[in-house]
Structure formats: structure tokens, C-alpha cells
């Protein structure tokens, strides 16, 4: 369909662009191609960090399954880091 940089876990450039433009206050604000790719990378790191920290939290609690409780526990520090 569209050009997809890497694996299935990548955010598409188009999706990133729409996500950002949805939240811009000024309709004239644009994002160049390089910045789109970088924000995609940043979002990927954000999700991986969230997942990895929640997984570590579950393991610290001797659980095999990550649930929202573990996500909630790692959320404050995650948001402080981004």
C-alpha cells in the first residue's frame, strides 16, 4: 500500500502527521518529512518503554501476565521521562 520504513511495529509517517496535526492549535503548522520519521521513532521508543517497564513490574511481582495495574504503577515515572 504505502511505503513502510521497517517492520509491522512502525508508526506510519502519514499517521504521525495526522496525529500531530490533529493537536496543533494553528492550522498553518506543518511537519517536515525528517521530523515525521523522528516523531515516529520517538513514539516507538515511548511504547516500547511503557511495555518493557510494565513487563518488568509484572516480573517483580512474580506475575506472568501484565495487566493495567502494572501499567498504572510505571506510568508516573514514564511520563516524567518523556
Amino acid at each position: 500500500m504505502e511505503e513502510r520504513g521497517g517492520g509491522a511495529g512502525d508508526f506510519r509517517k502519514h499517521t504521525v502527521d495526522r496525529l500531530l496535526r490533529l493537536n496543533f492549535r494553528d492550522g498553518r503548522t506543518r511537519v517536515n518529512a525528517e521530523a515525521q520519521l523522528l516523531v515516529g521513532e520517538l513514539l516507538k521508543v515511548f511504547v516500547r518503554e511503557a511495555a518493557a517497564r510494565a513487563a518488568r513490574q509484572a516480573q517483580a511481582e512474580d506475575l506472568k501476565k501484565v495487566d493495567t495495574e502494572q501499567v498504572e504503577k510505571v506510568l508516573p515515572q514514564l511520563l516524567l521521562d518523556f
Binding site: L20, L38, L42, V47, A54, Q59, V66
Partner: protein, 140 residues
């Protein structure tokens, strides 16, 4: 008029949320294999929702950073500024940015040749050379 716009915006937001949810699902699967844990559906949905909300913060910051530099276009510099809080994150993003810049440089070189050939700014001899090169780059 405004109500219709709001509705459309809401529909777009729902579609984007679904796209984010899908990608988060893929990424969580990678972590599952990596760390030998399982993610409940609710936990994936929670991470997707957090990511979607975080996008709002990212977008508003990026817009302000660009405006601070008197630009209306968000560039790689603004994204680097966004990643300033964690030094390892900043390093990672800077490295990615350099990778992109070096790959873009090659493409730009080709484009430059194309556009100057099209404008016909060069002397006839040079132009001929540029045109043949242009054809070469199209072949590649």
C-alpha cells in the same frame, strides 16, 4: 458548520486511535517474545490510550518549539528538543536524525541536478551532462 467539523474531527481521532492501538499491539508482541511475559488486552489498550494522549503533548510542544524559532514547519531540531529530558533518549534520537540526514543528502544531490537541468541554467555542454546523469538516476 462547527458541529459538522467537530464530528469529523472526532471520527478522525477514532481512526487514529485505532491505528495507534494496532501499532502498540505489534510492539507489545515484540516485548512479549523478548521478556517472556503476556500482556492482557486491557493493558495494551491502556498503553495505546496513554500513547494517544502523549501525542497531544508532543504536538503542542513541537508547535511551540517551532514557533519559538519563528517557523511554521516542525523540523528535526524541534524533535530533538522534545527528547531532551532523558540523555539516552536524546542520544538515540540524535543518532537517528544523523542517519536520516546522511541518506537525505544523497537524494538531495540527485534532486539538485534534476532541478538545475530542468531550469536550463547551465551552459549547453553542462546541461547535456546533467541530463544524461538525470537519466541514470532515474534508472537506479
Amino acid at each position: 458548520m462547527a458541529a459538522a467539523g467537530d464530528e469529523q474531527r472526532e471520527m478522525l481521532a477514532q481512526r487514529l486511535k485505532a491505528a495507534v492501538h494496532y501499532t502498540v499491539g505489534c510492539l507489545c508482541q515484540e516485548v512479549e517474545e523478548d521478556k517472556d511475559v503476556q500482556f492482557s488486552k486491557q493493558s495494551i489498550a491502556a498503553i495505546a490510550e496513554i500513547t494517544f494522549r502523549q501525542c497531544e503533548i508532543f504536538a503542542k510542544d513541537l508547535e511551540m518549539f517551532a514557533r519559538h524559532a519563528k517557523r511554521t514547519t516542525v523540523t528535526a531540531e524541534d524533535v530533538k528538543l522534545l527528547a531532551r529530558r532523558s540523555s539516552s533518549l536524546l542520544k538515540y534520537i540524535t543518532q537517528k536524525s544523523e542517519e536520516l540526514a546522511s541518506s537525505n543528502l544523497e537524494q538531495k544531490e540527485k534532486k539538485k541536478k534534476k532541478s538545475s537541468a530542468a531550469k536550463g541554467e547551465r551552459s549547453p555542454g553542462d546541461q547535456e551532462a546533467a541530463v544524461t546523469e538525470n537519466e541514470d538516476s532515474n534508472m537506479a
